[in-house]
């Protein structure tokens, strides 16, 4: 069996903000999907199937909302599929959609991910009791702060690394008109002076709660070859999951993330990711995850990720730009956050990322993670047909 080639031929997203009170959930997904179709030069009737992803349904208070959204997503009489793999879902959803084309089942698949966090309170929806542990954390930051502390202790990283990441991502966001946070006054000191939420994570080192959606049109080789503009070819996709609790696992540098990266690089023919990858969009909801994931995804040697941050390697003008869009730290419609990473990687290799474009980007990585650092989804996209 050989897999059919797949390309991203259309990308759309909403303006992300704290409350999109101007649209319903249907209006929100329709906005992103319509833009993706326009970008692809297609109409609703061109689409064979729709794959929807979002994080827990309690975030909006609608059970299996894709059923209600079938109409808005033009899915009548078509297959409509709903993925939910925790925070990694936006990435997983794109991968499930891509597989429908790879398997030769469909030629044009619309994939959409969204979250309308303003409809409920995600922080408390994320504050679940963990069996055998005292219920002490409020919000995902409370869960991850000990992991970050552990990383700092192991790597001897200085305290200011997280601030540098936040400053970079929030500055990059100023170049992205869709980003939720546009703080023109941001500075090292303003981040340093922001409230400590979950030591060592400060308020300004934390992702916002956003309403937003992202959509992509994925197409077969035959369709992509006829596209008028540049397309992003999918060179590899991978997903890995591991338990929440296992004596063997290391939640700081999880094996699932490492295995996922190794798998996706192998598919894409990448042997030295630091040199061969032009830019990366990784899922960094709390600043310190950038150095952690640089190591977990094999870009930096163990214990050295923070040095890349300090040396400016991950800046827009560095060797390995990370989160050119502003990342999760600047926009976080949770269910869509993974797909936004995947979509930004595709925008970069299409040369259509506007002010946050990396010149000459030919190979880009999109990454998403979820749960207690246990669900991983990645793809590699390129400007050249694989």
């Amino acid at each position: 069996m050989s897999k059919d080639r797949v390309a991203v031929v259309g990308i759309g997203q909403t303006k992300h903000q704290a409350t999109r009170g101007d649209v319903s959930m249907a209006g929100l997904v329709r906005e992103a999907a319509s833009r993706a179709l326009t970008d692809a030069g297609m109409t609703w009737s061109d689409i064979d199937a729709v794959v929807v992803g979002k994080a827990p349904d309690f975030f909006e208070g609608v059970m299996m909302p894709e059923l209600y959204l079938a109409d808005a997503l033009g899915a009548n009489g078509k297959p409509l599929f709903r993925v939910h793999t925790a925070g990694s879902v936006g990435g997983s959803t794109a991968i499930v959609a891509a597989q429908l084309v790879q398997a030769g089942i469909h030629e044009r698949v619309l994939t959409v991910a969204f979250e309308k966090q303003s409809e409920s309170d995600a922080m408390w929806a994320l504050s679940m009791p963990i069996p055998f542990q005292p219920p002490l954390h409020a919000g995902a930051g409370g869960y991850f702060a000990p992991h970050i502390r552990s990383y700092m202790a192991r790597s001897q990283a200085p305290d200011h690394i997280g601030i540098l990441v936040a400053l970079k991502d929030r500055t990059n966001a100023l170049k992205n008109p869709y980003a939720h946070l546009h703080d023109h006054e941001i500075s090292f000191d303003s981040i340093k002076d922001s409230m400590m939420l979950w030591d060592p994570v400060r308020y300004a080192e934390t992702c916002p709660s956003s309403d937003g959606a992202c959509a992509m049109v994925l197409a077969s080789e035959a369709v992509a070859d006829r596209a008028e503009g540049p397309v992003a070819w999918i060179k590899g996709t991978a997903m890995r999951s591991e338990p929440t609790m296992s004596a063997d696992r290391d939640p700081v540098l999880p094996r699932g993330g490492s295995d996922c990266a190794a798998d996706v690089y192998r598919q894409a023919g990448i042997t030295d990711p630091r040199r061969e990858v032009d830019c990366v969009e990784m899922y960094v909801p709390f600043s310190w995850f950038e150095p952690m994931w640089l190591e977990n995804l094999h870009f930096a040697p163990s214990g050295e990720g923070w040095k890349y941050v300090e040396d400016g390697v991950t800046q827009m003008d560095g060797d390995l730009p990370v989160n050119m869009s502003g990342g999760v730290l600047s926009s976080n419609p949770i269910g869509a956050s993974g797909m936004l990473r995947f979509a930004e990687a595709a925008l970069q290799v299409r040369g259509q990322a506007g002010e946050h474009q990396i010149d000459g980007a030919r190979t880009a990585v999109g990454h998403a993670y979820g749960g207690g650092s246990q669900f991983f989804a990645m793809w590699v996209v390129g400007s050249e047909k694989p």
Binding site: M1, P56, V62, M64, L67, T85, A86, Q102, P243, D259
Partner: protein, 354 residues
């Protein structure tokens, strides 16, 4: 070109009204162990794992994360989850096996429908701005569908009673059934309606349950199973949710999915239809061209047990098990989701000629 993929093992827990002692993980674990044992595989020998469940029944966000721990995903596995019935998890696994990199998949699903007020919970599925605030319950929506079927002259209450009497009689031979009895159709018709025109016995029981399937591709399936139940076709389609946009007396999405899955190709020995309400069996028979087929829902169907998120995969499992056992050669399984048969999946399964 489609790669041959088969169901090689199926397991389910006996369906119950309310599992009050075991939590979802504990409820699911024996089913997972059972299905892996039947296939002769441990978790590390399984290429892909996919599950179906919904947080709204568990009452907790990310509920599937806990059940995955029970499966034993270490070292890390290739895995996914759908907020859909397990039948759609099987669809994702079938697609994954089509890619040719992996040869086996575990599919599982579970739910406790009982802990919350199910009718109120299901109303949270409806249009959140215009319909859900009215809290319409699933039985009332099915009653509207039933009324339109009667008004159109497409069925009679006696037809519904036949479905109910046959299904619950069939369920007496199903050790996993929750509701089984032998009652005359005339007795059933003598009962008062509960939500007019539906009588209580036209409605499914509320069930807690879990089921699981192992898929295998090509030669791997033949190695692991004497008589694999090959998936000859599988397709799913959706319609608008709004009842006013649909002709509720037909199931256009089932008909289309059935055509794509190749239902009309040859006669079926068995059909398992996910029809929670008795009139829906008639709509589905019509959509799939089964007419007065004499072997529909030998398990008793959803009228014998209707665990949410599970009953669809169980229909596939019931057909596959009959092919694996050698008591059927070809069968069709159907799964549904959403109000009044909004979304439907059809699978055609076939054994090797003996």
């Amino acid at each position: 070109m489609v790669r041959d993929v088969a169901v090689i093992a199926f397991a389910q827990m006996p369906n119950v009204r309310a599992e009050t002692v075991l939590n979802e993980v504990e409820m699911l674990m024996p089913v997972i162990h059972d299905v892996r044992q039947r296939a002769g595989l441990d978790q590390q020998q399984i290429g892909f794992t996919c599950s179906g469940s919904t947080d709204y029944l568990s009452g907790q966000a990310f509920s599937f994360v806990s059940t995955l721990d029970g499966v034993g995903p270490w070292p890390p596995i290739q895995e996914s989850h759908v907020e859909m019935d397990g039948a759609w998890a099987l669809y994702e696994a079938w697609v994954k096996l089509q890619l040719g990199d992996l040869d086996t998949a575990l599919v599982y699903c579970y739910s406790k429908s009982a802990p919350g007020p199910l009718q109120e919970v299901l109303s949270r599925q409806l249009d959140p701005y215009h319909v859900a605030p009215l809290w319409p319950d699933a039985i009332s929506l099915a009653a509207l569908q039933t009324r339109s079927l009667l008004d159109a002259g497409k069925a009679t209450e006696a037809d519904f009673a036949e479905v109910v009497a046959r299904s619950r009689r069939n369920a007496m031979d199903n050790p996993n059934a929750q509701l089984a009895w032998d009652r005359a159709e005339a007795d059933l018709l003598a009962e008062e309606p509960m939500v007019d025109p539906l009588r209580k016995h036209d409605c499914p029981p509320i069930s807690d349950g879990a089921s699981a399937v192992i898929l295998a591709a090509g030669d791997r399936a033949r190695e692991l199973c004497a008589r694999p139940a090959w998936i000859r076709g599988i397709d799913h389609r959706i319609e608008p949710m709004a009842l006013g946009l649909r002709d509720l007396t037909v199931s256009a999405s089932t008909r289309l999915a059935g055509e794509k899955a190749g239902v009309g190709g040859a006669p079926m020995d068995v059909a398992e239809l996910h029809a929670p309400f008795s009139p829906q069996e008639l709509i589905l028979r019509d959509a799939l061209g089964l007419g007065d087929h004499d072997n529909v829902n030998p398990s008793g169907g959803a009228l014998a047990a209707n665990p949410m998120m599970v009953a669809g995969l169980t229909r596939i499992g019931e057909v596959a098990q009959r092919i694996i056992d050698g008591t059927a050669m070809r069968g069709v399984a159907h799964a549904t989701s959403g109000p009044c048969l909004q979304q439907n999946l059809v699978t055609v399964l076939e054994g090797d000629p003996t």
